[in-house]
Amino acid sequence: MAAVAARELADGEVVFVGIGLPNLACNLARATHAPRLVLIYESGAVGAVPERLPVSIGDPALVTGSLMVCGMADVFQCILQNGRVEVGFLGGAQVDRYGNINTTVIGPYARPKVRLPGSGGAAEIAIHAQRTLIVAKLGPRVFPERVDFVTSPGLRPAGRTRGELRMPGAGPVKVITDKAILEPDEATGEMVLAALYPGVSVPDVQAGVGWSLRCRPGLAPVAPPTAQELRLLRDVLDPKRLFLRQ
C-alpha cells in the first residue's frame, strides 16, 4: 500500500501528510522519484526532511532541517485555506461508496458504540486539498455503503456534489487499499474498482466492500513493489516495523 501510494505523488508537489502509512508513502516517494516533494504536517513543519520515521505527527524530527516551522493558524489559514496543498492523505475507520470518511463515532453520536478520535485536521484537508488520496485496508466494516458520521466529505456528502457545496478541492481521486485501487466514477462520484494487485480477484475485493462494486472496463494491473521500494521501506524507513506491520 505504501509503495502504491508513493507512486501517486509527483516530484515537487506540496503534500499534506498524515501519520502512519501516508507518512511512509511520502518519505518513500522522497527517497525515490520525488526528492523535491514538499511535506507539510499539520503541526506546522513545512518542507520536513525527517531523519527518523516520525512516531507522531508532531515529532521533533519534523522540525530539524525543515524549510519552515509556523504556528497552526498559519498552517490552516495561510497554507491550506489559501489553496497551496496539492495532495492530502486521508484514512479512517469507515470509508463509504462516495469516499466520505468517518473518524468520529461508530453508532449514534450521542451514544457511540465506539468513540474514535475525531477530525483533527482531516475535515478541512478533505475540503481544501486540490486532490486527496484515501488509504484504508479493505473490509466490510471499513467500507460500508454509508458511513455512520461524515467527518471528512467525499464526492457526494448528503447527496450533493462538491461543487454545489462550494468545496474548493476536487476530493478523493483514488482509494488505495491492500488489494486494489478504487476510483470515483466521473458521472456519479461512486467508487468503482479500477485496478487489482497481483493475484487478487474481483470477488476478493467485493468481499471487503459493503456495496455492489462496479468495475471499470479493462481493469488495470497494479505493479508489485520493486526490490528497491521494499528495501527502502523495510531497511531504511521503517526498520522497527512501526507502521508496516499494520
Partner: protein, 296 residues
C-alpha cells in the same frame, strides 16, 4: 508550581494546557490533579495523555477538543469510557467537538477579542449537526456563506516553553501549535519553562519571543516539566510511556494506581523525576542554529 496553580486555577474554570505534541505541560496537569480541582472545562486541540489523566482523576466536567487519540499509538481510554459510557456510572463528561482548524480559529478570535471567526470549512460534514455552536454567516462583501466558530477565551492558559525571563517574555522554538493565540485569548496565563533566563538573552533574539510578558501572570521554572512529551533542544518524547499508556488507561484500576504512585504519591515535579531514571537517554542532541545579525 504549587503556588501558581493554587492562585490561578480555580474549581469550575475553563483551563487550557496547550502544546501540539510538543511542550505539553504535564507538570501543571499533575499539580492540578494533586490540588483536586473539580468541574473544570478542559480545552485543547488534542487532549493527549494529560487530559486523559485529568479526566481519569475526576477534574473535568467538560472537554472541548478536535482530536482525542493517543498520538501515533491508539486511544485515550479514560476519555472513551466517559463518552461511550453515556447512561452508566462512567458517564458525565460533556463534550464540545471541532476540527483542528475550528479550534485554531476559536483561539484566534479569542486572542483578537472578536466574538467569532469565519472559515471556509465544514460543508458536507456532520460536525455542525454534532455541535450547534458551529454556525455560518453571510459575507457582507461577497455574499458567500462562511462557517463560523465562537471565540474561546479561557480563564487560564498554561504554556510550557524552553525559556522565559522573570517577567514572562517567553521564547519557543520547534512546533509552535496555538500557544500564542491561546495565551492572548486567556484571562490568566501561567508560563512554565525549562530555563529562566536574563532579559538580555531574550532581547538578543526578539523574533523568537512568542508570548510577551504583558499577558503573563506567573512564571514557573520546572525542568523536564513536559515529560513524557518533549521540548525541542532539551529532550525527546518518552514514546515508551505513550505506548504503555494504552494499557494503563484501559483499566480504571491501573490508571488509579498510576495516579497514586506518580501524581498523588509525589509532592512535586522533582520527586516525580526521581522515579523516571529513563529520562537520561531522552536528552536532546546538539543541532544549534546559526544566529542572525540584528544590527542596523
Amino acid at each position: 508550581m504549587r503556588d501558581a496553580v493554587a492562585r490561578f486555577v480555580h474549581d469550575g474554570d475553563a483551563v487550557v494546557i496547550e502544546g501540539f505534541t510538543h511542550l505539553i505541560c504535564f507538570a501543571a496537569g499533575h499539580e492540578i490533579i494533586r490540588q483536586r480541582r473539580r468541574d473544570l472545562t478542559l480545552a485543547r486541540l488534542t487532549p493527549d495523555l494529560i487530559y486523559d489523566q485529568m479526566i481519569g482523576a475526576g477534574c473535568a466536567r467538560k472537554l472541548v477538543f478536535s482530536w482525542a487519540g493517543n498520538p501515533g499509538v491508539g486511544s485515550l481510554h479514560a476519555f472513551r469510557r466517559a463518552v461511550e459510557g453515556v447512561g452508566t456510572r462512567d458517564s458525565g463528561l460533556e463534550i464540545e467537538e471541532y476540527s483542528h482548524f475550528g479550534m485554531v480559529a476559536r483561539f484566534a478570535a479569542g486572542a483578537a477579542r472578536l466574538p467569532f471567526w469565519p472559515l471556509r470549512d465544514y460543508m458536507g460534514t456532520d460536525l455542525p449537526r454534532a455541535n450547534p455552536r458551529i454556525r455560518s454567516v453571510t459575507c457582507p462583501y461577497t455574499g458567500e456563506d462562511l462557517a463560523t466558530v465562537p471565540a474561546l477565551n479561557p480563564d487560564v492558559t498554561i504554556v510550557h516553553a524552553q525559556r522565559a525571563d522573570a517577567d514572562g517574555n517567553t521564547q519557543i522554538w520547534g512546533l509552535l501549535g496555538v500557544q500564542r493565540e491561546a495565551a492572548f485569548a486567556s484571562e490568566r496565563v501561567i508560563i512554565v519553562v525549562e530555563e529562566l533566563v536574563d532579559e538580555q538573552l531574550i532581547r538578543s533574539d526578539p523574533n523568537r519571543t512568542v508570548i510577551p510578558g504583558m499577558v503573563v501572570d506567573a512564571v514557573v521554572v520546572e525542568p523536564w516539566g513536559a515529560h513524557p512529551s518533549y521540548a525541542q533542544g532539551y529532550y525527546d518524547r518518552d514514546n515508551d510511556f505513550y505506548v504503555a499508556w494504552e494499557d494503563v488507561s484501559r483499566s480504571p484500576e491501573r490508571l488509579a494506581r498510576y495516579l497514586d504512585e506518580f501524581v498523588y504519591g509525589v509532592p512535586d515535579r522533582a520527586a516525580y523525576l526521581k522515579k523516571q531514571p529513563q529520562v537520561a537517554r531522552l536528552k536532546a542532541k546538539q543541532r544549534v542554529s546559526q544566529g542572525v545579525n540584528y544590527g542596523f
